[in-house]
Symmetry: C2
């Protein structure tokens, strides 16, 4: 199992082979047994295979080709709608239209999503997470007709792999693990932790292709800029307000 | 693998057997290979075994006994501190002190956490998630000395199981899965989806023990009340501001 987790790769190209309905059901069932807050299961997933609806979702994901090409697009949502409706029908007054409830349900949705991802990969499928989900949540809400107290937090495209990409590099484990309490980094620590990445031919080419001086500049100036992060922050906060979570 | 995921149970009682350091490293390494945003790995985990520090963490988790009793307490954090420091040392101007960056790093932390959970369970360990992490994030920040741009989003206690609890019930899969787009629930749908849960002896006793009329009231009046949710919403938003994410 650990070997399998260590060898996984994100898959962005899928064959035409469809995912059997029975398999999809089994994967979702296995994922639903993972942990959740107070067994409220305050999440939902929308499984989209219909071409027209995938076409509506695509612009929200900046037309990344996986959305139209994957046999299934799974949109995982923080969802206090179902639970709140149940409360109202049972003479109970739900109080889940607030930020703490959003956090709890977003956590539930992400634990469910990642268990689904591991389950799918264990059965020979390939997956790709789409971080664009929180950028353009409003457009996804429109495309999938998500009601109040439902907010998409991540998306996974799924299909049988039609590529075998290289294993993606990771920072040394010391970069992300702290023992007992947090130990902040010295400049020398940072140099050591990023040395292998910065010295690799792959990233040297990546910096050159982007016409930047350092790899960090590719992130700050091109991929995840302050301007974009602030723009999408405002948009996502507006979505939380519109959906009743703030 | 699917059978294994379907049979998992949350474990709250642990034997005295310690977790070998080598195994902990292998589990964290396997978890680090899971997906993350732009390969920034904007997360960190604090692995706490020291009795004094676990004692400091315990009140933040409302003294749930797992915190002191588990051989290891893992606090998973949204973390743009390390990445931002790297940017500053590389002539790049980081722009990650905003809500969108918090969401991206919280998603990374949760995907990492759940892969760790599955990996740990696959090696015979038992885990329990602590939802109290976002309630009392400020106290956890103090206990673990988390710097700016680091916010705890979930905690997992880990150890070898000293109990074999029953499998926890879940709603029928139709409750959480929507095909193509979201289909909102009719009152009849809600009745059907919650019937098995509401008719079980376990939950009937649970309602009686709590002196409530309905199961939903146990949630709204006792376990997750509006008053508490709103109180903890304000606290968590303050923590996001204090740590520089809002």
């Amino acid at each position: 199992m650990l070997d399998f987790l260590n060898q996984r790769r994100t898959i962005r190209k899928y064959s035409n082979e469809p995912i059997p309905n029975q398999l999809m059901t089994e994967l979702l069932q296995a994922a639903a047994q993972s942990s959740n807050t107070g067994n409220m299961q305050a999440y939902s997933v929308v499984v989209t295979s219909n071409v027209d609806i995938k076409n509506q979702l695509a612009p929200a994901h900046f037309n990344q080709p996986m959305v139209k090409a994957a046999p299934a697009v799974l949109t995982f949502c923080a969802d206090f709608n179902r639970f709140s409706q149940w409360c109202q029908l049972r003479n109970a007054s739900p109080g889940y239209d607030n930020f703490q409830s959003f956090m709890a349900s977003a956590i539930d949705a992400l634990i469910f999503a990642q268990t689904f991802a591991v389950a799918a990969e264990s059965q020979g499928l390939g997956i790709c997470y789409l971080g664009t989900t929180t950028y353009n949540a409003g457009e996804i809400i429109d495309a999938l007709q998500l009601p109040k107290l439902v907010v998409p937090v991540t998306t996974i495209t799924v299909g049988y792999p039609d590529e075998t990409p290289k294993l993606t590099d990771r920072l040394p484990l010391e970069a992300v693990v702290h023992y007992e309490m947090y130990h902040d980094y010295s400049p020398k620590d940072i140099d050591n932790l990023y040395a292998e990445k910065e010295n690799s031919d792959f990233y040297k080419n990546f910096v050159a292709e982007n016409n930047k001086e350092t790899l960090a500049q590719v992130f700050t100036d091109v991929r995840y800029s302050r301007k974009n992060n602030e723009f999408f922050s405002d948009r996502f906060i507006n979505v939380l307000q519109q959906q009743g979570f703030m």
